[in-house]
Symmetry: C3
Subunit: 169 residues, 3 copies
């Protein structure tokens, strides 16, 4: 790759990472408007139901956040695959701490992933589609099994999932 | 931005990330001298009290670390805003595991953020100010509410906090 | 450093980060073949015993993964030191959530580090040596102390560990 293309890829990945971190920051700031603004105009947020566009996403997030006194969404394992100059697929692991208004003494813990499609709109990366995929949670001491599990988890007969490491020569 | 300025920004962000990771590594290595050396000469460490300069910070960290048999500070959601060629604001989420000498059987868990101001001194990024901001902890099975909470958390009437995503065109 | 050398360093660090995230993704996808493929042909995986080469590593991982219904390995604090154009040392913190087949109701939690040596083989970074170093775990509610602890943890008389922050001028 040319210097320019190489640098562009690093800058795009950094920008997408920053969008993810900013979204978590806005969620944990109890700011559904700011979190919803991370989506494209026609963006789809899958929060256990489909929400299309920042307004619908904001309303859904408001309802979810209203349950909590505090939240803290810790991201890691950010994987980004640029598919064109203005499109990308990504995922990040998330662990989330929740202080529940209804039971302040017993935090809820959540483990999962955010699985994303992104679009660059007017020079800025936005979520085109974002789905929360849980693999486990402990809600007030009770283990909750109602999670879809890792996307692409193999039975060992199944085909490979597609977050492959690109040739980095 | 020019290629040079774009590259400089990536390098500065990488260096600040590495400083944060190095600080956690030194804390978890039970090395208060190494952790304190991450601060500028006039750096302020806010560890539930103000400590100015590496020597005072080292003494404070020594007292804190003496309580623990082992610690593990897991950083994520690193957000860095370069405000000049030699200054930056940053924050990182932290979850910390603590093995307490006084009660080895029951770890302490801690969730919060480090909120930082940084300065580039003689070509090297250092903490100018670093504050631990907790949002929750579980100390030997007992939930502890004595935390200031997320900086900038909104009541939904309050103004927006300022870690905005920069135009990334 | 020249622009090219600076860019090369960022690209190599990004590629190594992506290898680490890809390995975790493959482990959590219940894909021991994909995880073992992250190692060089003569790579050494230290999983409480020495396994040399992708085939031996795959067999060992298969045995470990068979115990679990689901796992989630959350990486952070990635520190990478390039030692030549084709060699690097690295470490990452890890917290891992495990759903155990034998006791679905009580997850196992694990805190530790992966300590790595890497080699660039045919233009692609691979693990040359990877060791899991635990500092704590809670297995079905019971705290487990059988962990080696942080590599290089100081007694305060011991010499410094070597993940120093490089001059970033």
């Amino acid at each position: 790759m040319s210097t320019d293309a190489t640098l562009r890829e690093l800058v795009d990945k950094q920008a997408i990472y920053e969008l993810m971190a900013h979204y978590a920051d806005r969620i944990d700031a109890n700011d559904p408007v700011g979190a919803a603004a991370c989506f494209a105009e026609d963006g789809l947020g899958v929060y256990w139901q489909d929400c299309i566009g920042p307004k619908a996403i904001e309303e859904r997030l408001t309802g979810i956040l209203d349950r909590f006194h505090a939240t803290s969404h810790h991201l890691s394992n950010v994987q980004i695959r640029l598919t064109s100059e203005t499109a990308a697929a990504a995922q990040a692991y998330v662990y989330a701490f929740h202080r529940i208004k209804a039971d302040m003494a017993t935090p809820m813990h959540y483990w999962g992933r955010w699985v994303d499609e992104l679009a660059k709109v007017d020079g800025q990366w936005k979520f085109k589609r974002r789905e929360v995929v849980g693999i486990g949670s402990i809600d007030r001491g009770v283990d909750d099994f109602d999670h879809p599990g890792h996307p692409g988890r193999l039975s060992r007969e199944a085909p490979m999932a597609d977050f492959s490491v690109k040739e980095n020569a």
